[in-house]
Each structure stands twice: as structure tokens, then as C-alpha cells.
């Protein structure tokens, strides 16, 4: 098996995540799809690290994980506070700024 197949898998996962962000309206599920996209990027980084034979790709994947953790903490806090104010986790309902 050619290790490029890992890259194809990462591309597919990223595409599924991106489509999920566009399709779903529950803010929590949208967030999960963003996590899926970040994970797909990590898989590509790790595969490239193996193909090129150095560890820099793994370092970048490690930093991606740290940033994803910070993003999840803040994002979920925002979802909880929006839910408290509007009793809904749907991204369509937060349309106060719409004319």
C-alpha cells in the first residue's frame, strides 16, 4: 500500500467535516465537525512527517491539538452561554443582528 492513501483518507475526512459544518444547524454538532476537520489535518501532518522522515510534522500536529483543546473550551463555553440566554443551541436562532 502506498502511504499516500493516508492523505486521501485525510482529504475525505476533511471534506466530510466541511460539509457537516455547512449542513448541520445544531451548534454542538457543527463544533464536532470542526474537530473532525482538525483531526484530518493532523493525520495529513503525521503522514507527511513519515514520508519526509523528520519529526517537524508531528510537532505541528501537536500544536494543532493544543489549539483545538483551547478552541473547544472557549467554543463550548460560548454555546452554553448562548443556550442560557436563548434556550436553543441552533445556529439559525441567533439572528438578532439580522435586519
Amino acid at each position: 500500500m502506498n502511504p499516500v492513501n493516508y492523505l486521501y483518507l485525510a482529504a475525505l475526512l476533511f471534506t466530510i467535516g466541511a460539509a457537516g459544518v455547512l449542513i448541520r444547524r445544531n451548534a454542538i454538532v457543527v463544533f464536532m465537525c470542526v474537530e473532525l476537520m482538525l483531526n484530518a489535518c493532523n493525520l495529513a501532518f503525521v503522514t507527511f512527517s513519515r514520508m519526509h522522515g523528520n519529526l517537524d510534522g508531528q510537532i505541528i500536529a501537536f500544536f494543532t491539538m493544543v489549539v483545538a483543546a483551547a478552541e473547544v473550551v472557549v467554543g463550548l463555553a460560548i454555546i452554553v452561554s448562548v443556550f442560557r440566554a436563548r434556550h436553543s443551541a441552533s445556529v439559525d436562532d441567533a439572528s438578532l443582528m439580522k435586519l
Partner: protein, 275 residues
């Protein structure tokens, strides 16, 4: 020739693992975006992330594989489940489209984007395949190699991520903290208020307790047979999670139980017959 070929391919065991687990990972990702309930989506995503951890391990990223399991499936997904519980397990997506044809356009965009990405990878000349053996063993192992890079070449980025994590933790606390603007009323004050207003001076009635349902989400029946919403607690009432106890629903349930009983009885008979 064979040595040259070996440099470009992985072992057949890894290929088998890739095709089997890759299929499951794709199925999990699709289930994440297709499942109606957020809880099912979260569990599918957790499965996909565990499979990705296995792929990291197979790719020689031993540290990242373990971190993936500990941080992603352990911490982040559990945080997701926690929020799903907090926000309401039954808060399913509404299926009404607010923008006309949004789903199809989104699916078409996703398809086009996927074709673009895969065609790009297919066109790239990715002939280099060195493997991580030399890089991992240069300093005695994968963890040592990563540590050497993090604390020398990437030390500045590492420190910045530390600051980012602290800021995120403080930000989450600030966002979810709610200042109490008035003193909480005591039990005595609440009961005095009830007496003064003359509404529900005695405690609220208990939820329905039947031979079939002994649950808090079943409304108790009034003397005329109609369910009383007062008997169900306020949280369930607000979420709309009161179970229907009309005579039709009860008849449906009874028929279902009878059918399952008949089927179970038949299964048991068949077992005895085969024995």
C-alpha cells in the same frame, strides 16, 4: 528493484489495517454529520478519533497516538458529551430549511471541494518515502526526538501555546460565570409568598405512578382521566419531555409488549424443539 519498491510501500499488515479501519473511520465521520441526535454524533466522532490514534501509532507517531487518545477521546469528547447533557439530550436538529435548498448546495460544495483536494493529491509527485525509523532512533526514541525539537527549535511556539491555554481557561470561566444580582430567597420567604398569593399552598402533586410506569416523566391523571401537567417537574415540562399517557398511547404500548412476549415465547419454544 524490491528494495526500491519496499521504500515506497508499507507492509501488507498495515495495508490490511488501513483498509479495514479506514472504512470504519469514514463510516464514523459520515455518521457524525448524518445522525439526528447530538449524542449519537459525539459517539461516532469518538470512534473515528480512536481509529485516527491507531493510524498515528502505525505511522510511527507514538507520542501523538497516545496524546490523541488521552486528549481527544478522553478530554475533548467527554467535554462534548457533558455539554450535550447540559444543553439537553433530546435537542435534535430541526429539519426545516431556513435557506431554500441549503442542504443540497452544501452537499454539492462538499463534493466539489473533496474532488478538488483528492485531485490535487493525485497530481502531486509524492515519491519520497523515508519512514521515521532514522528520525525516531536519532535521539533514542520518538518522545525524545519530539522533546528535543519542542525545547529548541519550537520553544517560542511552545510558550505561546501555554499562554493560549491559560487564556482559554480564564475565558471559559468568564463566559460561563453568572453573577447573582439579588439574594436567593429562603424557603420560608417562598412559602410566605405562596400563602400570600393563594396559589398552590400545599406541595405539588406527585407524578403518575402506575403499574406500568413508575417514572417522573409520566403525568399523573386527574379524576376525569386527563393528565395533569402540574405533576411533572418544571425542567421536564420546559423541555417538552412529558410522556404521552393518553389511552391510545397506552394501548400501543400494551400491543407492543404483547407482541414481544409472543415472539419471546415462540423463540423459547423453537429452542426447546431444536434441543
Amino acid at each position: 528493484m524490491s528494495a526500491n519498491l519496499a521504500a515506497y510501500t508499507t507492509s501488507s499488515g498495515e495495508a490490511f489495517q488501513f483498509w479495514v479501519l479506514g472504512t470504519v473511520a469514514l463510516a464514523g465521520a459520515l455518521a457524525t454529520i448524518l445522525m439526528k441526535k447530538a449524542m449519537h454524533s459525539a459517539l461516532s466522532l469518538a470512534g473515528t478519533m480512536i481509529i485516527l490514534a491507531v493510524f498515528y501509532l502505525a505511522n510511527g507517531a507514538y507520542f501523538l497516538g497516545i496524546v490523541q487518545i488521552v486528549v481527544y477521546t478522553g478530554a475533548i469528547m467527554m467535554l462534548f458529551l457533558f455539554i450535550v447533557m447540559l444543553v439537553g439530550v433530546t435537542a435534535a436538529d430541526s429539519l426545516k430549511e431556513t435557506i431554500k435548498g441549503q442542504r443540497w448546495w452544501a452537499a454539492a460544495c462538499g463534493l466539489g471541494f473533496g474532488i478538488l483536494l483528492i485531485a490535487g493529491i493525485g497530481q502531486a509527485s509524492l515519491t519520497e518515502f523515508n519512514g521515521l525509523g532514522a528520525a525516531n532512533s536519532a535521539r533514542g526514541g520518538n518522545v525524545e526526538g519530539l522533546a528535543a525539537l519542542i525545547f529548541t527549535k519550537y520553544v517560542f511556539a511552545f510558550e505561546i501555546t501555554g499562554a493560549l491555554l491559560i487564556t482559554a481557561a480564564v475565558g471559559a470561566m468568564v463566559l460561563t460565570h453568572r453573577e447573582r444580582t439579588e439574594r436567593a430567597r429562603t424557603q420560608r420567604e417562598l412559602s410566605e409568598q405562596r400563602v400570600r398569593q393563594g396559589t398552590h399552598v400545599p406541595p405539588l402533586p406527585a407524578p403518575g405512578v402506575y403499574a406500568r410506569h413508575n417514572a417522573v416523566d409520566v403525568a399523573g391523571l386527574l379524576p376525569d382521566g386527563s393528565p395533569s401537567e402540574l405533576t411533572v417537574m418544571q425542567t421536564l415540562r420546559k423541555r417538552g419531555q412529558i410522556r404521552d399517557v393518553s389511552s391510545e398511547a397506552l394501548a400501543d404500548l400494551k400491543a407492543l409488549e404483547q407482541r414481544s412476549e409472543e415472539r419471546l415465547g415462540r423463540d423459547r419454544d423453537e429452542e426447546e424443539a431444536t434441543r
